[in-house]
Amino acid sequence: MSERNESDRLQNESWIQRMMRRPEIGSFIVMIIIILALGLASEGKAFNALGLKNNIAIIAQLGIIAVGAALLMIAGEFDLSIGPMIAFAGMSMAIMLKWGLPFGLGEATPFTAFAITMCMTLGFGWLIGTIVVRSGLSSFIVTLAFWFFLRGLTEVCFRLINQNTNVSGLPDFKKESWFAEQMGGEVFGWLYDAWFWIGQKVASGLEFTAGMTKEEKIDLINYLSFLNINRKMEQWVTGFDARLFWFIIIAAVAWYVLAKTQIGNWIYATGDNKESARANGVPVNRVKVGLFMFSAFCATIFAACQVFDTNSSDAAKGMFKELEAIAIAVVGGILMTGGFGSIVGVIFGAITFGLVANAVFFIPWIDGAWFRVFVGTVLLAAVFANERIRKRITGGI
């Protein structure tokens, strides 16, 4: 008879048990419930050609900053300055586009305005990170200070330079600038083209006729909306917002780095126990500063998508976005204490939040403020669930 040893106590698990231990399982289940609920309550309208575009726009928007916030949280730090960073970056780009580059460098192009803004926001990210690691203060306090600092700075700059708290009516740069189109234009048009092409085949023979009643017409419009056809029988929607492209890029890179690379291991190690990480030669401070900069990078991409989409900016942009980003990260299974979580979970969380934030547009009888009620509830539930998952993984220690 073989001797029983310590490792025998770890039971072999079926794949279902393994799945249930994954950090993203909770957010996946919530996401499925929300997709089904929204689909039913909106009679499918949330996922017709336009509904999908609008939903994905907000999902991608929230997702971009949530990925930055999530990596930082896995490394054990918070960033409350995401929202003000968005406002600052938007202000910086819009003002440069309207008033020209600083120091008399002449007219700004979308790319130069973006590049200079990115340098500034990365600088702020570096500064925040450096203050946090050097002082050993809680990132909550340091980034709260930067929340006020950047909010104030944004408004002051708007007033000083533009005599107003916003810039609006910028020319539509998307027409002449490839870069602006990449940020604020449309992407994956071929998907909608294909959708329309298939829609036409399905809808062939359907048309509006003089003898139709109003109800019949509405039914037909509804039906066509799922085939990407408008009431003139032309293509209805031409593509997704460009921020989807950036969300995919940022999420894919973040996933790869976190799950598959050395830096990913450093991020986990830093968040789990930074002293032991340091003792093993992990450059803890560099990891943290880098992630504060990455968070600022995500906020700047968010702002650029917004500015080049709407050709405007104002001082109130990005309001509450830092809190939403953190909430998404938590719902996505990131532990508040760091060291654990996955980007896939964050993507599920972003989908859930985006759908709920937009639900008011698809379900007319619902009050938009329910969004926050939902967020509060789900957030609390997620924290409890995460704690359970953590205990399950660490064997209750």
């Binding site: 040893n5 310590e6 490792s7 770890l10 598959k260 690379t261 050395q262 830096i263 990913g264 291991n265 450093w266 986990y268 190690a269 789990d272 126990n273 002293e275 032991s276 990480a277 003792a279 093993n280 030669g281 992990v282 532990l335 060291g339 654990f340 953590r390 993984i393 660490t394 064997g395 220690i397």
Partner: protein, 257 residues
């Protein structure tokens, strides 16, 4: 003929301001031997190992590694020179897997920093098997392991990354009886390799007697007794453990109260 010492520490002193933590300590460690470093709380054991592992720099004194004079300005330099320290907290992260802990900070990577996760799993498994634990699943979180297994992981890691002198800081404290024995077995297996010198810091006289070949006793920052197992007798060990006080004296003192 005495075997060549692996690491020799001569006349190390360490002052923290007006406080003298170590006052001229000598130490010799030999490959394939367990050198027990004993002493009461505050005797200077921790300061000594922090100097050996590069955390602190000595105020004066020298460290020789294989007869070459060395000085370590950082833990990294000490570990590059072959000094592997396993602290009480083990420097292990609970939420991370065995493999990710094993290679923490020293990951094997291919292009673009990609982890060679299969190779790493294999190495972690093999290295831990060598000193006594067979892990079926190196991707399991360390949080699920027992205290003794965690010790083994930390020791295996130190050896794999080139420790020639393995410093174990109270590896048996805070463990249950059975796990203490597991750790002692692990230490014996490392000793049996013959090429690694072990410095074993402990409070526990019984544990030191079970595996140590050589002893150094510290009290108030000074060496109060040193020698091989055969040179010291059991009574000596107990007396020196108590910082030179006789157990009989202690008994009398206790009785007075």
């Amino acid at each position: 003929m005495a075997p060549k010492s692996f690491m020799r520490v001569e006349n190390i002193t360490k002052k923290f301001g007006p406080f003298t933590a170590l006052n001229g300590v000598d130490l010799d460690v030999y490959p394939g031997e367990v050198h027990a470093l004993l002493g009461d709380n505050g005797a200077g054991k921790s300061t000594l190992i922090k100097i050996l592992s590069g955390v602190h720099q000595p105020t004066s004194g020298t460290i020789y590694m294989e007869e070459v004079k060395r000085s370590f300005r950082s833990p990294r330099e000490a570990s590059a020179a072959g000094i592997g320290t396993v602290y009480q907290d083990l420097a292990i992260n609970q939420l991370m897997s065995v493999t990710r802990n094993f290679f923490m900070g020293r990951e094997l990577t291919s292009t673009l920093g990609k982890l060679k996760i299969d190779e790493m799993n294999q190495i972690a498994h093999d290295e831990m098997l060598k000193i006594g634990i067979d892990f079926s699943d190196p991707s399991q979180a360390v949080g699920t392991m027992s205290g003794g297994q965690r010790q083994t992981l930390a020791i295996a890691r130190a050896i794999y990354f080139g420790a020639k002198v393995l410093i174990l800081d109270e590896p048996t404290s805070a463990l249950g009886q059975k796990q203490q024995m597991e750790v002692l077995k692990t230490i014996k297996r490392v000793r049996a390799r013959g090429d690694i010198a072990i410095i074993f810091i402990t409070h526990n006289e019984i544990h030191s007697r079970l595996i140590a070949d050589r002893y150094t006793f510290l009290a108030l920052g000074q060496v109060i007794g040193q020698g091989t197992k055969s040179e010291l007798e059991g009574g000596d060990i107990r007396r020196l453990m108590a910082g030179g006080a006789e157990i009989k004296d202690l008994e009398q003192e206790l009785a007075k109260i």
